[in-house]
Symmetry: C2
Subunit: 135 residues, 2 copies
DNA sequence: CCTTGACTTAGAGTCAACTCTAAGGTTTAG
DNA sequence: CTAAACCTTAGAGTTGACTCTAAGTCAAGG
């Protein structure tokens, strides 16, 4: 079974415009065309889209995703480089997670502080209450 | 002890340009000026900057941070609204964390797959190895 | 045959968040 | 006294990632 650009876009939770933009940026070299020039997405292509979505949502810039995809298209000789890029990207994700958790704690403390002011009885999972900044 | 815009920017890991931009967007109503019109940052101001940084790094748009800060400046009557905003923001952070962890697992599987191809002996903490997409 | 609706392209427009420039003011060191 | 090194403003320019428009092609239904 294959998909039109609209159907593929729906499955990926983006617009057809966005998929065309990705194609223009070199992210979709694997997508083929039918006799009248329209893009045809296969199940395998949707897996590629899933990978792109994964990299995008972890903060990799479109250009770098393009580089990665081009490396994939270039074949086995690029496996070392691809592996290295993903390892560095994993480091970036771990730093994001750390920062996000740290900031979440600060927000939690602030909410706790507001809960006290407003007189709410321990509704949320609390950390020890100390405001991040004055006010 | 007080700080110039450059020193405050350094402490916050942004440029002085960025702090002026934040001021223009209404994020720094608390910062006062010296007799010749230059911004003077107090220790308390740096705490505010810390809060702004926290909200920014968890994905809150500048405009919304502006709204929050204006609410703070408006006094006690806005405590309920501020609390509500932070509670909703916490939900957004938790969703981000969930997605980030999910995508991290996919990246880990892909790295494991490359490790096998490249013949590396279990260097990293592995999840069960399955590639995200073909190739 | 003709309209409807999906697709195509090149290229322009939008938005957030900076990032920088120009032109000028003030304070300190030589 | 003046040059360096800060600061100020208004406003223009950049970047990344879309987002949309215009003009056109193509296949199916009435």
């Amino acid at each position: 079974m294959t998909y039109t650009i609209k159907q593929a876009a729906e499955k990926m939770n983006v617009t057809a415009h966005t998929l065309r933009y990705y194609d223009k940026e070199g992210l979709l070299p694997f997508v083929s065309r039918d006799k009248s020039g329209n893009r045809v997405f296969t199940e395998g292509d949707l897996e590629w889209l899933g990978l792109i979505s994964c990299l995008k949502h972890t903060g990799m810039p479109i250009k770098q995703i393009g580089t990665y995809i081009q490396w994939c298209a270039a074949g086995e000789s690029s496996i070392g480089a691809r592996r290295q890029m993903l390892i560095e990207h994993r480091e970036a994700i771990l730093r994001q997670l750390e920062e996000l958790n740290h900031n979440l704690e600060a927000i939690n403390r602030k909410i706790q502080y507001y809960n006290k002011l407003v007189g709410v009885k321990a509704v949320d999972e609390a950390v020890d209450p100390q405001p991040v900044a004055a006010e």
